[in-house]
Amino acid sequence: MSVAATLSMSRGRLASRTGAAWMIFALLAVTPAVVTLAGDPYLTLTFSRILIFAIAAISLDLVMGYGGLVTLGHAANIGFGAYAVAVLSRHGITDLGLQMLGAIVLAGGFAAVTGAIALRTRAVYFIMITLAFGQMAYFFFVSLSAYGGDDGVALSGRSTIFGSALLESDVVFYYVALALLGLVYLFSLRLVSSRFGRVLTGTREDRLRMQAIGFRPFGYQLLGFAIASCIAAIAGVLLANQTEFVSPAYMSWHRSGELLVMVVLGGMGTLLGGVAGAIVVLLLEEGLSTFSSHWLLGLGVVLLAVVLFSPSGLAGLAQRLVGRGEREGRP
Protein backbone atom coordinates (compact mmCIF):
# COMPACT_ATOMS: atom_id res chain seq x y z
CA MET A 1 0.00 0.00 0.00
CA SER A 2 1.42 3.35 -1.01
CA VAL A 3 2.84 5.63 1.61
CA ALA A 4 0.85 8.39 0.02
CA ALA A 5 -2.46 6.74 0.70
CA THR A 6 -2.95 8.52 3.99
CA LEU A 7 -1.72 11.80 2.60
CA SER A 8 -3.98 12.47 -0.33
CA MET A 9 -7.01 11.76 1.80
CA SER A 10 -5.76 14.17 4.41
CA ARG A 11 -7.97 16.94 3.07
CA GLY A 12 -11.15 15.08 3.98
CA ARG A 13 -9.58 13.83 7.16
CA LEU A 14 -8.22 17.12 8.37
CA ALA A 15 -11.23 17.72 10.59
CA SER A 16 -10.99 14.37 12.35
CA ARG A 17 -7.22 14.79 12.58
CA THR A 18 -7.26 18.17 14.28
CA GLY A 19 -9.84 16.72 16.63
CA ALA A 20 -7.49 13.91 17.56
CA ALA A 21 -4.63 16.37 17.93
CA TRP A 22 -6.57 18.53 20.36
CA MET A 23 -7.47 15.46 22.36
CA ILE A 24 -3.92 14.14 22.59
CA PHE A 25 -2.41 17.49 23.50
CA ALA A 26 -5.13 18.18 26.06
CA LEU A 27 -4.44 14.84 27.69
CA LEU A 28 -0.71 15.50 27.70
CA ALA A 29 -1.30 18.94 29.20
CA VAL A 30 -3.11 17.59 32.25
CA THR A 31 -0.84 14.58 32.70
CA PRO A 32 1.42 16.06 35.44
CA ALA A 33 -1.59 17.10 37.49
CA VAL A 34 -3.20 13.70 37.06
CA VAL A 35 -0.13 11.69 38.00
CA THR A 36 0.47 13.92 41.01
CA LEU A 37 -3.09 13.42 42.16
CA ALA A 38 -2.64 9.72 41.53
CA GLY A 39 0.21 10.03 44.03
CA ASP A 40 2.84 9.17 41.47
CA PRO A 41 4.53 12.45 40.49
CA TYR A 42 7.52 10.49 39.31
CA LEU A 43 5.60 9.55 36.16
CA THR A 44 5.96 13.16 35.01
CA LEU A 45 9.55 12.28 34.16
CA THR A 46 8.52 9.18 32.26
CA PHE A 47 6.10 11.24 30.24
CA SER A 48 8.60 13.95 29.48
CA ARG A 49 10.71 11.17 27.97
CA ILE A 50 7.71 10.28 25.84
CA LEU A 51 7.34 13.89 24.68
CA ILE A 52 10.98 13.95 23.66
CA PHE A 53 10.70 10.87 21.51
CA ALA A 54 7.44 12.15 20.09
CA ILE A 55 9.36 15.17 18.78
CA ALA A 56 11.97 12.89 17.25
CA ALA A 57 9.26 10.70 15.76
CA ILE A 58 7.53 13.67 14.13
CA SER A 59 10.79 14.76 12.57
CA LEU A 60 11.36 11.26 11.23
CA ASP A 61 7.84 11.21 9.84
CA LEU A 62 8.67 14.40 7.96
CA VAL A 63 11.52 12.83 6.00
CA MET A 64 10.04 9.37 5.86
CA GLY A 65 6.30 9.78 5.57
CA TYR A 66 6.34 12.91 3.43
CA GLY A 67 9.80 13.02 1.91
CA GLY A 68 9.80 9.28 1.21
CA LEU A 69 13.36 9.19 2.52
CA VAL A 70 13.57 6.28 4.93
CA THR A 71 16.62 6.79 7.11
CA LEU A 72 18.25 4.48 9.62
CA GLY A 73 20.63 7.16 10.82
CA HIS A 74 18.14 9.51 12.42
CA ALA A 75 19.19 8.74 15.98
CA ALA A 76 22.56 10.28 15.19
CA ASN A 77 20.86 13.67 15.33
CA ILE A 78 19.55 12.96 18.81
CA GLY A 79 23.15 12.20 19.70
CA PHE A 80 24.33 15.50 18.21
CA GLY A 81 21.76 17.34 20.29
CA ALA A 82 22.83 15.54 23.42
CA TYR A 83 26.54 16.09 22.84
CA ALA A 84 25.94 19.73 22.01
CA VAL A 85 24.63 20.01 25.57
CA ALA A 86 27.52 18.04 27.05
CA VAL A 87 30.25 19.91 25.20
CA LEU A 88 28.81 23.40 25.57
CA SER A 89 27.95 23.02 29.25
CA ARG A 90 31.46 21.77 29.93
CA HIS A 91 32.63 25.07 28.46
CA GLY A 92 30.25 26.95 30.68
CA ILE A 93 27.50 27.56 28.14
CA THR A 94 24.44 26.19 29.91
CA ASP A 95 21.73 28.28 28.27
CA LEU A 96 19.10 26.06 26.65
CA GLY A 97 18.62 28.37 23.70
CA LEU A 98 22.31 28.52 22.87
CA GLN A 99 22.65 24.79 23.28
CA MET A 100 19.74 24.22 20.90
CA LEU A 101 21.40 26.57 18.45
CA GLY A 102 24.59 24.54 18.71
CA ALA A 103 22.67 21.32 18.27
CA ILE A 104 20.92 22.64 15.18
CA VAL A 105 24.17 23.83 13.62
CA LEU A 106 25.83 20.49 14.31
CA ALA A 107 22.98 18.30 13.08
CA GLY A 108 22.15 20.58 10.18
CA GLY A 109 25.74 20.59 9.02
CA PHE A 110 26.07 16.84 9.27
CA ALA A 111 22.77 16.37 7.45
CA ALA A 112 23.79 18.77 4.70
CA VAL A 113 27.03 16.94 4.03
CA THR A 114 25.89 13.34 4.41
CA GLY A 115 22.53 14.06 2.81
CA ALA A 116 24.17 15.51 -0.26
CA ILE A 117 25.99 12.21 -0.71
CA ALA A 118 23.17 9.92 0.41
CA LEU A 119 20.64 11.53 -1.91
CA ARG A 120 22.51 10.09 -4.85
CA THR A 121 20.91 6.81 -3.84
CA ARG A 122 17.31 5.64 -3.57
CA ALA A 123 15.07 3.40 -1.50
CA VAL A 124 16.89 0.64 0.37
CA TYR A 125 20.25 1.99 -0.76
CA PHE A 126 19.34 5.26 0.93
CA ILE A 127 18.35 3.41 4.11
CA MET A 128 21.69 1.68 4.21
CA ILE A 129 23.87 4.66 3.40
CA THR A 130 22.19 6.72 6.10
CA LEU A 131 22.75 3.80 8.42
CA ALA A 132 26.41 3.91 7.45
CA PHE A 133 26.76 7.61 8.23
CA GLY A 134 24.84 7.19 11.47
CA GLN A 135 27.18 4.41 12.54
CA MET A 136 30.23 6.50 11.69
CA ALA A 137 28.96 9.28 13.93
CA TYR A 138 28.25 6.69 16.60
CA PHE A 139 31.72 5.20 16.48
CA PHE A 140 33.26 8.65 16.46
CA PHE A 141 31.70 9.44 19.84
CA VAL A 142 32.47 5.95 21.13
CA SER A 143 36.16 6.63 20.68
CA LEU A 144 35.92 10.20 21.95
CA SER A 145 37.70 9.56 25.25
CA ALA A 146 37.56 13.22 26.23
CA TYR A 147 33.84 12.72 26.81
CA GLY A 148 34.02 9.28 28.33
CA GLY A 149 33.89 7.34 25.09
CA ASP A 150 31.00 4.90 25.27
CA ASP A 151 30.80 5.35 29.04
CA GLY A 152 29.33 8.74 28.27
CA VAL A 153 29.37 11.76 30.55
CA ALA A 154 27.11 12.79 33.38
CA LEU A 155 25.94 16.41 33.22
CA SER A 156 26.42 18.58 36.28
CA GLY A 157 22.82 19.73 35.97
CA ARG A 158 20.11 20.70 33.55
CA SER A 159 20.35 23.62 31.16
CA THR A 160 19.41 27.10 32.26
CA ILE A 161 16.85 29.42 30.69
CA PHE A 162 18.13 33.00 30.73
CA GLY A 163 20.39 32.09 33.62
CA SER A 164 17.68 30.58 35.80
CA ALA A 165 17.64 26.89 36.67
CA LEU A 166 13.93 26.53 35.95
CA LEU A 167 14.37 23.18 34.25
CA GLU A 168 15.55 21.51 37.45
CA SER A 169 11.88 21.13 38.29
CA ASP A 170 10.54 18.08 36.49
CA VAL A 171 7.17 19.72 36.01
CA VAL A 172 8.62 22.83 34.39
CA PHE A 173 10.81 20.62 32.24
CA TYR A 174 7.75 18.64 31.22
CA TYR A 175 5.87 21.71 30.08
CA VAL A 176 8.86 23.09 28.22
CA ALA A 177 9.09 19.78 26.38
CA LEU A 178 5.35 19.83 25.73
CA ALA A 179 5.50 23.36 24.39
CA LEU A 180 8.31 22.39 22.04
CA LEU A 181 6.37 19.33 20.92
CA GLY A 182 3.38 21.55 20.15
CA LEU A 183 5.53 23.98 18.20
CA VAL A 184 7.20 21.22 16.23
CA TYR A 185 3.83 19.65 15.47
CA LEU A 186 2.29 22.88 14.22
CA PHE A 187 5.41 23.76 12.25
CA SER A 188 5.41 20.35 10.57
CA LEU A 189 1.69 20.55 9.88
CA ARG A 190 2.13 23.81 8.02
CA LEU A 191 5.25 22.57 6.31
CA VAL A 192 3.68 19.51 4.71
CA SER A 193 0.72 21.38 3.29
CA SER A 194 2.86 24.24 2.02
CA ARG A 195 4.19 24.58 -1.52
CA PHE A 196 7.47 23.14 -0.30
CA GLY A 197 5.67 20.21 1.29
CA ARG A 198 3.87 19.46 -1.94
CA VAL A 199 7.09 19.39 -3.92
CA LEU A 200 8.59 17.08 -1.31
CA THR A 201 5.70 14.61 -1.41
CA GLY A 202 5.46 14.93 -5.17
CA THR A 203 9.10 13.94 -5.45
CA ARG A 204 8.45 10.92 -3.28
CA GLU A 205 5.63 9.90 -5.61
CA ASP A 206 7.50 10.24 -8.90
CA ARG A 207 10.79 12.03 -9.26
CA LEU A 208 10.88 11.93 -13.04
CA ARG A 209 7.45 13.51 -13.29
CA MET A 210 8.57 16.30 -10.97
CA GLN A 211 11.61 16.98 -13.12
CA ALA A 212 9.43 16.95 -16.21
CA ILE A 213 7.37 19.82 -14.80
CA GLY A 214 10.45 21.75 -13.84
CA PHE A 215 11.52 20.88 -10.31
CA ARG A 216 15.02 19.85 -9.24
CA PRO A 217 14.24 17.34 -6.48
CA PHE A 218 17.71 17.29 -4.94
CA GLY A 219 17.54 20.69 -3.27
CA TYR A 220 14.09 20.18 -1.83
CA GLN A 221 14.92 16.74 -0.51
CA LEU A 222 18.17 17.90 1.03
CA LEU A 223 16.41 20.79 2.71
CA GLY A 224 13.69 18.53 4.06
CA PHE A 225 16.31 16.08 5.28
CA ALA A 226 18.22 18.84 7.06
CA ILE A 227 15.11 20.37 8.66
CA ALA A 228 14.07 17.01 10.07
CA SER A 229 17.59 16.40 11.37
CA CYS A 230 17.59 19.72 13.21
CA ILE A 231 14.26 18.96 14.86
CA ALA A 232 15.61 15.59 15.97
CA ALA A 233 18.65 17.37 17.40
CA ILE A 234 16.33 19.50 19.55
CA ALA A 235 14.86 16.28 20.88
CA GLY A 236 18.44 15.26 21.66
CA VAL A 237 19.02 18.43 23.68
CA LEU A 238 15.94 17.62 25.73
CA LEU A 239 16.92 13.98 26.19
CA ALA A 240 20.29 15.00 27.57
CA ASN A 241 18.52 17.27 30.04
CA GLN A 242 15.95 14.69 30.99
CA THR A 243 18.52 12.02 31.81
CA GLU A 244 21.26 14.51 32.79
CA PHE A 245 23.54 12.07 31.04
CA VAL A 246 24.95 11.83 27.52
CA SER A 247 26.22 8.72 25.79
CA PRO A 248 26.80 7.40 22.28
CA ALA A 249 24.18 4.76 23.03
CA TYR A 250 21.63 7.44 22.09
CA MET A 251 22.76 7.27 18.49
CA SER A 252 23.24 3.59 17.73
CA TRP A 253 21.26 2.22 14.79
CA HIS A 254 18.97 0.38 17.20
CA ARG A 255 17.68 3.74 18.32
CA SER A 256 17.03 4.76 14.75
CA GLY A 257 15.20 1.50 14.34
CA GLU A 258 13.05 2.19 17.39
CA LEU A 259 12.14 5.64 16.07
CA LEU A 260 11.21 4.03 12.79
CA VAL A 261 9.02 1.55 14.62
CA MET A 262 7.27 4.36 16.48
CA VAL A 263 6.44 6.19 13.27
CA VAL A 264 5.31 3.18 11.28
CA LEU A 265 3.38 1.86 14.23
CA GLY A 266 1.62 5.17 14.67
CA GLY A 267 0.93 5.52 10.98
CA MET A 268 3.25 7.19 8.51
CA GLY A 269 2.53 10.47 6.83
CA THR A 270 0.19 11.62 9.54
CA LEU A 271 2.59 13.43 11.93
CA LEU A 272 0.21 12.71 14.79
CA GLY A 273 0.90 9.03 14.18
CA GLY A 274 4.49 9.59 15.28
CA VAL A 275 3.29 11.08 18.54
CA ALA A 276 0.88 8.23 19.11
CA GLY A 277 3.58 5.71 18.22
CA ALA A 278 6.02 7.21 20.71
CA ILE A 279 3.40 7.22 23.47
CA VAL A 280 2.36 3.62 22.84
CA VAL A 281 5.83 2.14 22.41
CA LEU A 282 7.35 3.85 25.46
CA LEU A 283 4.34 3.18 27.70
CA LEU A 284 4.46 -0.46 26.65
CA GLU A 285 8.18 -0.51 27.42
CA GLU A 286 7.61 1.00 30.86
CA GLY A 287 4.57 -1.11 31.59
CA LEU A 288 5.68 -4.48 30.32
CA SER A 289 9.20 -4.32 31.72
CA THR A 290 7.79 -4.14 35.25
CA PHE A 291 6.08 -7.48 34.78
CA SER A 292 8.90 -9.63 33.47
CA SER A 293 12.39 -9.43 32.08
CA HIS A 294 10.94 -11.07 28.97
CA TRP A 295 8.77 -8.05 28.25
CA LEU A 296 10.26 -7.67 24.77
CA LEU A 297 8.22 -10.71 23.83
CA GLY A 298 5.06 -8.79 24.61
CA LEU A 299 6.16 -5.76 22.64
CA GLY A 300 6.98 -7.97 19.68
CA VAL A 301 3.52 -9.49 19.72
CA VAL A 302 1.92 -6.04 19.80
CA LEU A 303 3.94 -4.87 16.80
CA LEU A 304 2.99 -7.96 14.83
CA ALA A 305 -0.65 -7.57 15.75
CA VAL A 306 -0.77 -3.94 14.63
CA VAL A 307 0.84 -4.67 11.27
CA LEU A 308 -1.40 -7.62 10.57
CA PHE A 309 -4.69 -6.18 11.73
CA SER A 310 -4.30 -2.47 11.15
CA PRO A 311 -2.49 -1.88 7.84
CA SER A 312 -2.02 1.88 8.20
CA GLY A 313 -0.87 1.75 11.79
CA LEU A 314 -2.66 3.16 14.82
CA ALA A 315 -3.82 6.11 12.73
CA GLY A 316 -5.62 3.68 10.44
CA LEU A 317 -7.05 1.91 13.46
CA ALA A 318 -8.35 5.18 14.85
CA GLN A 319 -9.80 5.99 11.43
CA ARG A 320 -11.74 2.78 11.40
CA LEU A 321 -12.92 3.20 14.96
CA VAL A 322 -14.24 6.61 14.05
CA GLY A 323 -15.88 4.86 11.12
CA ARG A 324 -13.97 6.76 8.47
CA GLY A 325 -12.30 3.51 7.47
CA GLU A 326 -11.00 3.72 3.93
CA ARG A 327 -9.12 0.74 2.55
CA GLU A 328 -6.93 0.77 -0.50
CA GLY A 329 -7.77 -1.45 -3.49
CA ARG A 330 -4.42 -2.86 -4.49
CA PRO A 331 -4.03 -3.81 -8.17
Partner: protein, 231 residues
Protein backbone atom coordinates in the same frame (compact mmCIF):
# COMPACT_ATOMS: atom_id res chain seq x y z
CA UNK B 1 -16.44 -20.95 -23.41
CA UNK B 2 -17.03 -17.96 -21.13
CA UNK B 3 -20.29 -16.97 -19.51
CA UNK B 4 -20.60 -13.85 -17.36
CA UNK B 5 -23.80 -13.45 -15.34
CA UNK B 6 -24.99 -10.37 -13.46
CA UNK B 7 -21.43 -9.46 -12.55
CA UNK B 8 -21.10 -6.83 -9.83
CA UNK B 9 -17.96 -5.26 -8.39
CA UNK B 10 -16.48 -2.25 -6.63
CA UNK B 11 -13.23 -0.68 -5.55
CA UNK B 12 -13.41 -0.24 -1.81
CA UNK B 13 -16.60 1.68 -1.31
CA UNK B 14 -17.09 3.00 -4.83
CA UNK B 15 -19.22 0.61 -6.92
CA UNK B 16 -18.14 0.25 -10.51
CA UNK B 17 -19.93 -2.77 -11.98
CA UNK B 18 -23.65 -3.12 -11.43
CA UNK B 19 -24.93 -5.72 -13.85
CA UNK B 20 -22.71 -7.20 -16.53
CA UNK B 21 -23.87 -10.26 -18.43
CA UNK B 22 -22.58 -11.64 -21.73
CA UNK B 23 -20.98 -14.76 -23.15
CA UNK B 24 -18.30 -15.78 -25.57
CA UNK B 25 -18.68 -19.01 -27.56
CA UNK B 26 -15.69 -21.03 -28.68
CA UNK B 27 -14.48 -19.74 -32.00
CA UNK B 28 -16.16 -16.35 -31.86
CA UNK B 29 -14.82 -12.85 -31.37
CA UNK B 30 -16.64 -10.57 -28.95
CA UNK B 31 -15.84 -6.93 -28.25
CA UNK B 32 -16.44 -4.86 -25.14
CA UNK B 33 -17.21 -1.28 -26.16
CA UNK B 34 -17.50 1.72 -23.89
CA UNK B 35 -16.09 5.09 -23.06
CA UNK B 36 -13.26 5.68 -20.62
CA UNK B 37 -13.98 4.64 -17.09
CA UNK B 38 -17.11 2.69 -17.85
CA UNK B 39 -15.90 -0.57 -16.38
CA UNK B 40 -14.41 -2.59 -19.20
CA UNK B 41 -11.13 -3.32 -17.49
CA UNK B 42 -12.86 -3.90 -14.21
CA UNK B 43 -14.98 -6.52 -15.94
CA UNK B 44 -11.83 -8.21 -17.13
CA UNK B 45 -10.26 -8.05 -13.68
CA UNK B 46 -13.39 -9.60 -12.24
CA UNK B 47 -13.40 -12.43 -14.78
CA UNK B 48 -9.81 -13.27 -13.93
CA UNK B 49 -10.42 -13.05 -10.18
CA UNK B 50 -7.88 -10.26 -9.88
CA UNK B 51 -10.68 -8.29 -8.29
CA UNK B 52 -12.97 -10.94 -6.75
CA UNK B 53 -16.57 -10.28 -7.86
CA UNK B 54 -18.99 -8.91 -5.28
CA UNK B 55 -21.86 -10.57 -7.08
CA UNK B 56 -22.82 -12.60 -10.12
CA UNK B 57 -21.12 -15.60 -11.66
CA UNK B 58 -18.22 -16.33 -13.98
CA UNK B 59 -18.35 -19.64 -15.83
CA UNK B 60 -15.34 -20.82 -17.79
CA UNK B 61 -15.64 -23.89 -20.03
CA UNK B 62 -18.70 -24.97 -18.09
CA UNK B 63 -17.03 -24.74 -14.68
CA UNK B 64 -18.20 -22.08 -12.21
CA UNK B 65 -15.08 -20.10 -11.48
CA UNK B 66 -16.62 -17.27 -9.47
CA UNK B 67 -14.18 -16.17 -6.80
CA UNK B 68 -11.60 -18.79 -7.71
CA UNK B 69 -7.90 -17.87 -7.51
CA UNK B 70 -6.58 -16.18 -10.69
CA UNK B 71 -4.20 -19.00 -11.49
CA UNK B 72 -7.05 -21.53 -11.46
CA UNK B 73 -9.13 -19.39 -13.79
CA UNK B 74 -6.21 -18.84 -16.16
CA UNK B 75 -5.35 -22.52 -16.06
CA UNK B 76 -8.91 -23.23 -17.19
CA UNK B 77 -7.86 -21.80 -20.55
CA UNK B 78 -7.97 -18.01 -20.31
CA UNK B 79 -5.11 -15.89 -21.55
CA UNK B 80 -4.78 -12.21 -20.63
CA UNK B 81 -3.22 -9.26 -22.42
CA UNK B 82 -3.64 -6.72 -19.64
CA UNK B 83 -4.29 -3.04 -20.01
CA UNK B 84 -1.10 -1.01 -19.79
CA UNK B 85 1.16 -3.90 -20.83
CA UNK B 86 2.38 -4.93 -17.37
CA UNK B 87 5.30 -6.90 -18.73
CA UNK B 88 7.93 -8.04 -16.25
CA UNK B 89 10.56 -5.28 -16.25
CA UNK B 90 13.26 -7.35 -14.55
CA UNK B 91 13.07 -10.25 -17.01
CA UNK B 92 14.51 -10.35 -20.50
CA UNK B 93 12.15 -10.46 -23.46
CA UNK B 94 12.66 -14.18 -23.88
CA UNK B 95 12.25 -14.86 -20.18
CA UNK B 96 9.02 -12.86 -20.25
CA UNK B 97 7.75 -15.24 -22.90
CA UNK B 98 9.06 -18.45 -21.40
CA UNK B 99 8.47 -17.87 -17.69
CA UNK B 100 4.70 -18.31 -17.72
CA UNK B 101 4.35 -20.34 -20.92
CA UNK B 102 2.25 -23.49 -20.93
CA UNK B 103 1.85 -26.40 -23.36
CA UNK B 104 4.35 -24.96 -25.82
CA UNK B 105 5.15 -28.44 -27.11
CA UNK B 106 1.60 -29.59 -27.67
CA UNK B 107 -0.17 -26.24 -28.15
CA UNK B 108 -0.28 -24.15 -31.26
CA UNK B 109 1.93 -21.37 -29.90
CA UNK B 110 5.68 -21.69 -29.44
CA UNK B 111 8.56 -19.28 -29.10
CA UNK B 112 9.26 -19.52 -32.82
CA UNK B 113 5.70 -18.75 -33.81
CA UNK B 114 5.57 -15.69 -31.53
CA UNK B 115 8.87 -14.48 -32.93
CA UNK B 116 7.39 -15.14 -36.34
CA UNK B 117 4.51 -12.83 -35.48
CA UNK B 118 6.77 -10.19 -33.91
CA UNK B 119 10.24 -10.30 -35.50
CA UNK B 120 11.03 -7.15 -33.56
CA UNK B 121 10.90 -9.13 -30.32
CA UNK B 122 13.40 -11.62 -31.62
CA UNK B 123 15.84 -8.78 -32.29
CA UNK B 124 15.46 -7.57 -28.73
CA UNK B 125 15.24 -11.01 -27.11
CA UNK B 126 18.01 -10.36 -24.58
CA UNK B 127 16.89 -6.87 -23.52
CA UNK B 128 15.27 -6.30 -20.17
CA UNK B 129 11.51 -5.77 -20.35
CA UNK B 130 11.75 -2.19 -19.11
CA UNK B 131 14.18 -1.33 -21.92
CA UNK B 132 11.58 -1.96 -24.59
CA UNK B 133 9.70 0.72 -26.42
CA UNK B 134 6.02 1.14 -25.68
CA UNK B 135 5.00 -0.78 -28.77
CA UNK B 136 7.52 -3.52 -28.21
CA UNK B 137 6.21 -3.95 -24.70
CA UNK B 138 2.74 -4.27 -26.18
CA UNK B 139 3.90 -6.96 -28.57
CA UNK B 140 5.57 -8.73 -25.68
CA UNK B 141 2.37 -8.66 -23.62
CA UNK B 142 0.46 -10.23 -26.51
CA UNK B 143 3.14 -12.82 -27.13
CA UNK B 144 3.27 -13.66 -23.44
CA UNK B 145 -0.47 -14.34 -23.36
CA UNK B 146 -0.34 -16.48 -26.49
CA UNK B 147 2.54 -18.51 -25.01
CA UNK B 148 0.10 -19.84 -22.40
CA UNK B 149 -1.82 -21.41 -25.30
CA UNK B 150 -5.21 -20.22 -24.06
CA UNK B 151 -8.57 -21.27 -25.48
CA UNK B 152 -9.92 -17.79 -24.87
CA UNK B 153 -7.69 -14.74 -25.28
CA UNK B 154 -8.70 -11.50 -23.58
CA UNK B 155 -7.08 -8.45 -25.13
CA UNK B 156 -7.53 -5.23 -23.13
CA UNK B 157 -6.33 -2.35 -25.30
CA UNK B 158 -3.89 -4.76 -26.92
CA UNK B 159 -3.12 -2.55 -29.91
CA UNK B 160 -2.52 0.66 -28.03
CA UNK B 161 0.65 2.30 -29.28
CA UNK B 162 1.16 -0.13 -32.11
CA UNK B 163 2.00 1.08 -35.57
CA UNK B 164 -0.82 0.69 -38.12
CA UNK B 165 1.10 -1.99 -39.97
CA UNK B 166 1.47 -4.11 -36.85
CA UNK B 167 -2.19 -3.54 -36.00
CA UNK B 168 -3.19 -4.87 -39.36
CA UNK B 169 -1.08 -7.92 -38.73
CA UNK B 170 -2.59 -8.49 -35.32
CA UNK B 171 -6.12 -8.28 -36.65
CA UNK B 172 -5.17 -10.65 -39.40
CA UNK B 173 -3.67 -12.93 -36.82
CA UNK B 174 -6.78 -12.81 -34.67
CA UNK B 175 -8.85 -13.72 -37.70
CA UNK B 176 -6.57 -16.69 -38.18
CA UNK B 177 -6.97 -17.72 -34.54
CA UNK B 178 -10.74 -17.43 -34.77
CA UNK B 179 -10.64 -19.65 -37.78
CA UNK B 180 -8.62 -22.14 -35.76
CA UNK B 181 -11.48 -22.18 -33.26
CA UNK B 182 -10.02 -19.88 -30.61
CA UNK B 183 -12.38 -17.65 -28.67
CA UNK B 184 -11.45 -13.98 -28.33
CA UNK B 185 -12.66 -11.13 -26.12
CA UNK B 186 -11.40 -7.75 -27.30
CA UNK B 187 -11.42 -4.32 -25.74
CA UNK B 188 -10.02 -1.77 -28.10
CA UNK B 189 -10.27 1.90 -28.80
CA UNK B 190 -10.34 1.68 -32.58
CA UNK B 191 -12.93 -0.93 -33.16
CA UNK B 192 -13.64 -0.12 -36.76
CA UNK B 193 -10.92 -2.50 -37.83
CA UNK B 194 -12.14 -5.30 -35.66
CA UNK B 195 -15.77 -4.57 -36.38
CA UNK B 196 -15.05 -6.56 -39.51
CA UNK B 197 -13.94 -9.72 -37.77
CA UNK B 198 -15.95 -9.46 -34.55
CA UNK B 199 -19.12 -11.54 -34.33
CA UNK B 200 -20.84 -9.75 -31.49
CA UNK B 201 -20.42 -6.51 -29.54
CA UNK B 202 -21.20 -5.66 -25.93
CA UNK B 203 -21.61 -1.99 -25.07
CA UNK B 204 -20.90 -1.10 -21.44
CA UNK B 205 -21.94 2.14 -19.83
CA UNK B 206 -21.60 3.07 -16.17
CA UNK B 207 -21.07 -0.55 -15.22
CA UNK B 208 -24.09 -1.93 -17.02
CA UNK B 209 -24.53 -3.63 -20.36
CA UNK B 210 -26.27 -1.03 -22.47
CA UNK B 211 -26.59 -2.98 -25.67
CA UNK B 212 -25.39 -6.17 -27.27
CA UNK B 213 -25.72 -7.41 -30.82
CA UNK B 214 -24.07 -8.58 -34.01
CA UNK B 215 -21.92 -6.38 -36.18
CA UNK B 216 -24.61 -5.86 -38.79
CA UNK B 217 -27.04 -4.67 -36.13
CA UNK B 218 -24.36 -2.41 -34.76
CA UNK B 219 -23.70 -0.85 -38.14
CA UNK B 220 -27.46 -0.46 -38.50
CA UNK B 221 -27.65 1.58 -35.28
CA UNK B 222 -26.26 5.02 -36.19
CA UNK B 223 -26.24 6.47 -32.65
CA UNK B 224 -24.11 3.66 -31.30
CA UNK B 225 -21.98 3.52 -34.41
CA UNK B 226 -21.41 7.26 -34.11
CA UNK B 227 -20.39 6.83 -30.56
CA UNK B 228 -17.99 3.95 -30.67
CA UNK B 229 -16.79 3.52 -34.23
CA UNK B 230 -14.61 5.92 -36.08
CA UNK B 231 -16.19 6.72 -39.40
Amino acid sequence: MLIVEKLQNAYGTSRVLFDISFEVQTGEVVTLLGRNGMGKTTTVKSIFGLLPPRGGRVIVAGRDMTGAAPHHIAAAGLGLVPEGRQIFPNLTVEENLVATSRGVRTGRWSLDRVYGLFPRLQERRNNMGNQLSGGEQQMLAIGRALMTNPRLVVLDEATEGLAPLIREEIWACLARLEAEGEAILVIDKNVDALARLADRHVVIEKGEVKWTGRTVELLAKPEIRERYLQV
